[in-house]
Symmetry: C2
Subunit: 252 residues, 2 copies
């Protein structure tokens, strides 16, 4: 990949972060979408700004965004945007929501950014390169057994009753569990602070940016059955820093 | 209260924060206590430093600390210390754990600090004064009905099966729910970003600092039955920004 695309992706993250920071802990119109997830003026304005910028710089590229849907989704290059991953946290004044930006090439994610507008932290993954955190190379940590793993998930209420059984199975076997992660947890896993993330019901815009970050740091991220993460939701995701604990956490 | 005690409490928070920041996302010896909660070298070092500082400045004051227990707990003034509230988050590299410092006078909390060493945020409550966030006065927000409330709890797995039923009852009625708060959620509630926090199984060091912060911002914080929060654990806690939603959330 030439440097034009990563440089441009960083600029998109800067732009979205500037907008989102302006609304943090301030009155901000919000409503619930058809899937009951909340959306705010900040989500919409940040996504619209990124889309306009992509349209000017790369008019042939496609876009898939959480708030404004798809344009040219069959293009060679497609940007996948989630202006605020963790809108519930954002609305409650918790600073660990993030902006997710992915670039797909022929359907496969080749670049991913997990940006944290409030804490100034940015994880970047580019296919074939080591992932970085604020510019420094990162590696996941070793974890061979479920009993040694720290497990994260955003909310245990995101699982269907059947899937909850698998989550509970894992939760009963790990060394520790934490909640409320949203995309921040994937960054922490890439940086070697967490071992396992198990989530369910995600969409392409929630996950595409995570894949290059996790894989470029030495981790594994797949569907619950070990298969590749597809664009079609709902996506059930298992990410692990170590392939050994990933295998032990699969549901098949 | 003369200014000596608040000034001293700020200095304790600065001191603990300096120590804790030095260990964040770095290798740090950790073990599990008899109640299965984790403790790290950072918890111990920060509490020891605060205790030594209190002992020098106010040798007649008592101390109750998470890691090193009680000294002179029947003194007129007693400091209640939790060097890292949210040790699981701290160990996973999540920056929203906090340092809790309370001062009891004849058993009642008259000063509380919720300090966030990583984000540079500090909530302060002093009996009879408006609570502050980084020096500015704060107020809780109005919320008259459960259906309008955003509910937070650290982990839904902290409830006993019976208490979980009450939590699930509330969760089914509120407007939204977020997880993974630790003490940060109480600061957000005091600042008017959240409406309701329901937790269970807490100890004095987890809760005493929260009381002046919440009450001085106009909120209500009690046991699940509406009674006062006592020093004896385990403590089941309901905090609300508005007395109306607090009443609706009680379990009696």
């Amino acid at each position: 990949m030439d440097e034009t695309l990563p440089v441009f992706a960083h600029r998109l993250a800067d732009m979205a972060g500037g907008i989102v920071r302006g609304y943090f802990r301030r009155p901000c119109a919000a409503e619930h979408k058809s899937d009951a997830s909340p959306v705010t003026q900040a989500d919409r304005e940040a996504e619209a700004a990124m889309r306009a910028h992509i349209g000017e710089a790369f008019p042939a590229h496609g876009i898939i965004g959480e708030e404004y849907g798809e344009e040219r989704a069959d293009a060679e290059y497609v940007w996948v945007l989630d202006p605020i991953d963790g809108t519930r946290s954002f609305m409650a004044g918790k600073p660990l929501f993030g902006t997710l930006i992915a670039l797909l090439h022929r359907g496969a994610p080749v670049l991913g950014i997990i940006d944290q507008p409030m804490t100034g932290e940015r994880w970047v993954g580019i296919k074939g390169r080591p992932s970085t955190f604020n510019g420094g190379e990162i590696r996941t940590r070793a974890c061979a057994a479920l009993g040694d793993a720290v497990l994260a998930t955003t909310s245990p209420y995101l699982f269907s009753p059947e899937k909850k059984l698998h989550f509970e199975f894992l939760r009963g076997r790990v060394a520790g569990d934490i909640y409320g992660g949203d995309c921040y947890a994937y960054g922490l896993l890439a940086s070697g602070h967490l071992d396992l993330i198990v989530e369910s019901g995600l969409k392409a815009h929630d996950v595409m940016a995570l894949i290059p970050v996790i894989e470029g740091a030495g981790g594994v991220i797949t569907a619950w059955d070990g298969g590749p993460v597809t664009h079609e939701g709902p996506i059930d995701l298992i990410a692990a820093g170590d392939a050994r604990v990933h295998t032990l956490a699969l549901c098949r």
